[in-house]
C-alpha cells in the first residue's frame, strides 16, 4: 500500500491518529511540505471506489481532524483523491500552495452546518417568505451561506452555512427557535462538517 489517500490539508504536520479510515486503513498521518500538511492514509489504488461506507469514513476522518488539538482547521478534499506516492503529493502541495493558504484563511476557526426544510406532504407553504425569514434569523450569525440543490419537490430550503466555532450555540438556538415557530415544516439540521461548500480548490490526483 504505497499510495496515499488524501482527506484534507492542514497547517503543519502534527495530525496523526488511529481510526477506521478509507479502504480499511487504520492510521491517518500527515505528509508535509513547507508547513502545509496533507492528512493521508495508505491505500493500494489511485482510483478508490466510492462506497457508502468509505464515503462515510472520509467524512468521519475529516471530523476527527477538525477535533484534533481542540480545533484544527482543515481544507477538505472531495472523496477519491489518491496519489501514487509522497513525491507526487508534495508536488501538489507546492503547486497549489497559494490556493490552499487562501482557503485556509477563509475557513479558519469555522465549520459548516447544513439546514434542510421539508414541507409536510400535503402542506402548502410560501417558499419565498420562508427563505426571507431564515435569512433574517440565521444570516446575521453565519459568516457565509450557500444555497444547495432542491432535489425534492418537498424541499423548501437547502442551505449550507459557514459558522464561527464561537457562534455555534447562537446558531443552534436560532435554528431551534425557528423549528418551534413552524409546525408546517420538518427541519433537518446537520453538522458540523468540514467546510466543503466553502472551498473551491481543485487538484488533479495522479
Amino acid at each position: 500500500m504505497t499510495n496515499r489517500y488524501v482527506y484534507g490539508i492542514v497547517d503543519g504536520d502534527t495530525v496523526e491518529f488511529e481510526t477506521e479510515a478509507v479502504a480499511g486503513a487504520e492510521r491517518v498521518y500527515t505528509i508535509s511540505h513547507r508547513r502545509l500538511g496533507a492528512v493521508v492514509s495508505d491505500i493500494d489504488t489511485t482510483d478508490p471506489e466510492e462506497t457508502d461506507e468509505d464515503a462515510q469514513r472520509h467524512d468521519d476522518v475529516l471530523r476527527e481532524i477538525m477535533d484534533c488539538d481542540g480545533g484544527t482547521t482543515v481544507v477538505p478534499m472531495q472523496f477519491g483523491m489518491a496519489f501514487e506516492g509522497d513525491r507526487e503529493l508534495k508536488n501538489v502541495l507546492r503547486g497549489a500552495r497559494p490556493a490552499f493558504r487562501r482557503a485556509m484563511t477563509d475557513i479558519e476557526g469555522r465549520f459548516e452546518l447544513g439546514l434542510k426544510l421539508v414541507r409536510e406532504d400535503d402542506a402548502d407553504v410560501d417558499r419565498e417568505a420562508i427563505e426571507d425569514e431564515v435569512a433574517d434569523r440565521l444570516g446575521p450569525i453565519a459568516a457565509q451561506s450557500v444555497a444547495n440543490d432542491l432535489f425534492s419537490d418537498r424541499l423548501v430550503l437547502n442551505r449550507s452555512y459557514l459558522v464561527d466555532r464561537n457562534e455555534r450555540e447562537a446558531f443552534d438556538d436560532a435554528v431551534a427557535d425557528f423549528e418551534d415557530d413552524r409546525d408546517d415544516l420538518m427541519v433537518r439540521y446537520t453538522g458540523p462538517f468540514a467546510p466543503y461548500s466553502f472551498v473551491d480548490v481543485k487538484i488533479g490526483a495522479q
Binding site: 421539508v118 440543490d149 432535489f151 425534492s152 420538518m186 433537518r188
Partner: protein, 84 residues
C-alpha cells in the same frame, strides 16, 4: 428513385433518431434518479420512511441508476443502435 427517397426521407429519419434519443434520456434520467435517491435518504432521516421501506426503495433506485448510466454510456459510445 432510391436516391430521391433517401433524400426525401433522411430529414425525417434524423428527427426520429433525435426523438428516440430524447425518449431514452427521459426514460433513463440519471439526474432524476439521483434526486430520488437523495429524497429517499432525507425522508428516512426525518423518520417519515421506515428502514425497510428506505432500504427497498434504495435498492430499486440503485438498480435503475446503474441501468440508466449503462444506457447513457452506450449512447455516448454509439453502441446503442436505433432499430426501425
Amino acid at each position: 428513385m432510391f436516391v430521391l427517397d433517401d433524400l426525401l426521407f433522411r430529414p425525417f429519419v434524423g428527427i426520429i433518431d433525435a426523438l428516440h434519443t430524447i425518449a431514452l434520456d427521459e426514460l433513463y434520467d440519471v439526474e432524476a434518479l439521483e434526486d430520488d435517491l437523495k429524497e429517499n435518504q432525507l425522508l428516512y432521516e426525518l423518520g417519515e420512511r421506515s428502514e425497510a421501506a428506505y432500504q427497498r426503495r434504495k435498492e430499486e433506485l440503485e438498480a435503475e441508476l446503474e441501468t440508466a448510466r449503462d444506457v447513457h454510456e452506450r449512447l455516448a459510445s454509439g453502441r446503442v443502435e436505433v432499430k426501425r
